[in-house]
């Protein structure tokens, strides 16, 4: 083998190695990442997450998902200290893609909601375009005006809501 072809093969091997490394890392991470819950027909988070019971149920086959949130009325706010944290919801498979959201909290206040994954077209730049700001604003609205519910807003993404809910419940909000 001439020197030239030797360095060429070495380069080819290096490139193949790099691509294999990328593929391998993706494979390992995929194997380790939590499988999305089937939004349709899933039991959701059935177990109480925080003392006092915030129980939830997941989706029904109404092509949508449902979740429940209970608040322990009158319980002292033990987490009163404003603590900035980020909670990631479970990934939910809504049939045409996976939905997963991330909620940032300051103590018990939601300060931001971003979608980590949205089905078809949900990515960081698409998200910044339309979906996330809307859903974020709805979440913020609910808490800032001490609103119990919102009428008229239509939740267009089933999995989003359920994942938001799962994140909220993990946070014990």
């Amino acid at each position: 083998m001439t020197r030239l072809s030797r360095s060429r093969t070495r380069r080819a091997v290096a490139l193949a190695g790099m691509l294999a490394a990328v593929g391998g890392l993706v494979g390992v991470r995929a194997a380790l990442s939590p499988q999305p819950v089937q939004a349709l027909g899933s039991p959701g988070l059935a177990s109480p997450v925080h003392g006092g019971g915030s129980g939830n149920s997941g989706s029904g086959k109404a092509g949508g998902s449902q979740h429940s949130r209970s608040r322990k009325a009158g319980s002292p706010n033990t987490r009163a200290a404003a603590r900035h944290r980020t909670v990631d919801g479970n990934p939910y498979d809504v049939g045409y893609g996976t939905v997963q959201v991330r909620v940032t909290l300051d103590g018990r206040r939601i300060t931001g909601v971003t979608a980590l994954q949205l089905p078809s077209g949900g990515r960081s730049s698409d998200i910044s375009g339309y979906a996330a700001p809307r859903l974020q604003q709805e979440a913020l609205a609910a808490q800032s005006a001490h609103i119990d519910a919102v009428s008229g807003a239509s939740y267009t993404s089933a999995g989003y809501a359920s994942s938001l809910q799962s994140a909220l419940d993990r946070a014990g909000v």
Binding site: A46, A141, I147, A149
Partner: protein, 265 residues
């Protein structure tokens, strides 16, 4: 049907009751979807719309809903109508315009049956509210925010409802969010003027199907276009409150139900 149903249950001393209740609600909604979804080709409603079955062939709950739809069509001068899209290919009745509200109430019924009286069921904007928001404080009011149809992410205002054993149903219909759903059955075209309409009614002995009622009336008000004002005043004579938000943001609220809390979000 692409609808998200959300349950908000207040204060349980028995968390395990929640789990069972939620599972039961899920089951009920799954069933409703199987039976009523017009997007499932083999659901009863789809077959009904297509004319492949007659109303009398359908299960009792379908019949009830259809009867409800027909009665409400009458009530709303035809602006809500199960025959809103009657064509040769779809000759049968389509109750879809009120199924969401009806389903929300069904879910609420399940929760009540499980001993959870303080809750909100929200089916993509059609709510049924029950009990007290804060069981420790009987004076707290339920605050229901109403989406501003002209600006996404904003609230147009808040509707306050008293807590108590009586349930409430709140339904909002809007051109902007429901898009092409709402069609004026008389003219078969999109109405102009009203951007969203909200109906608030009690769910009690005098109106046992308040959820369906609210949903149908809200749909009718949006479909009514210019006639919405008079239709709305007619509704208020029937112990239901309603208000309209026009596409320019102005609010027609004869019952003074909506409290302005426009908040920049």
């Amino acid at each position: 049907m692409g609808t998200v149903v959300s349950l908000d249950v207040r204060a349980t001393e028995r968390p395990e009751a929640l789990t069972t209740a939620a599972a039961a609600v899920t089951e009920r909604l799954v069933h409703i979807d199987e039976v009523f979804s017009p997007w499932r080709a083999e659901s009863w409603v789809s077959r009904l719309i297509a004319g492949r079955v007659a109303v009398d062939d359908c299960p009792s709950e379908v019949r009830e809903v259809i009867e409800l739809a027909v009665a409400l069509a009458d009530l709303t001068d035809g602006y809500f109508s199960p025959f809103w899209r009657r064509t040769a290919a779809a000759p049968g009745p389509d109750p879809t315009g009120l199924v969401k509200g009806w389903a929300a109430q069904q879910a609420s019924d399940v929760l009540l049956a499980h001993g959870l009286p303080d809750h909100v069921v929200n089916a993509a904007g059609d709510l049924v509210v029950s009990g007290w928001p804060d069981p420790q404080d009987a004076l707290t009011l339920w605050r229901v925010g109403i989406s501003d149809p002209t600006t996404s992410g904003r609230l147009a205002g808040v509707v306050e409802l008293a807590g108590g054993p009586r349930r409430w149903a709140v339904a909002t219909s809007g051109v902007a969010e429901l898009g092409l759903h709402v069609v004026d059955p008389h003219t078969r075209s999109l109405p102009s003027g009203t951007a969203s309409a909200t109906v608030v009614t009690a769910v009690d002995g005098s109106r046992p199907q308040g959820g369906a009622f609210a949903d149908a009336c809200a749909t009718a008000l949006v479909a009514a276009g210019d006639a919405a004002g008079s239709l709305m005043r007619g509704l208020s004579s029937r112990a239901a409150d309603a208000f309209l938000i026009a596409s320019d943001g102005s609010v027609d609220d004869p019952g003074r139900v909506l409290h302005g809390v426009p908040r920049e979000l």
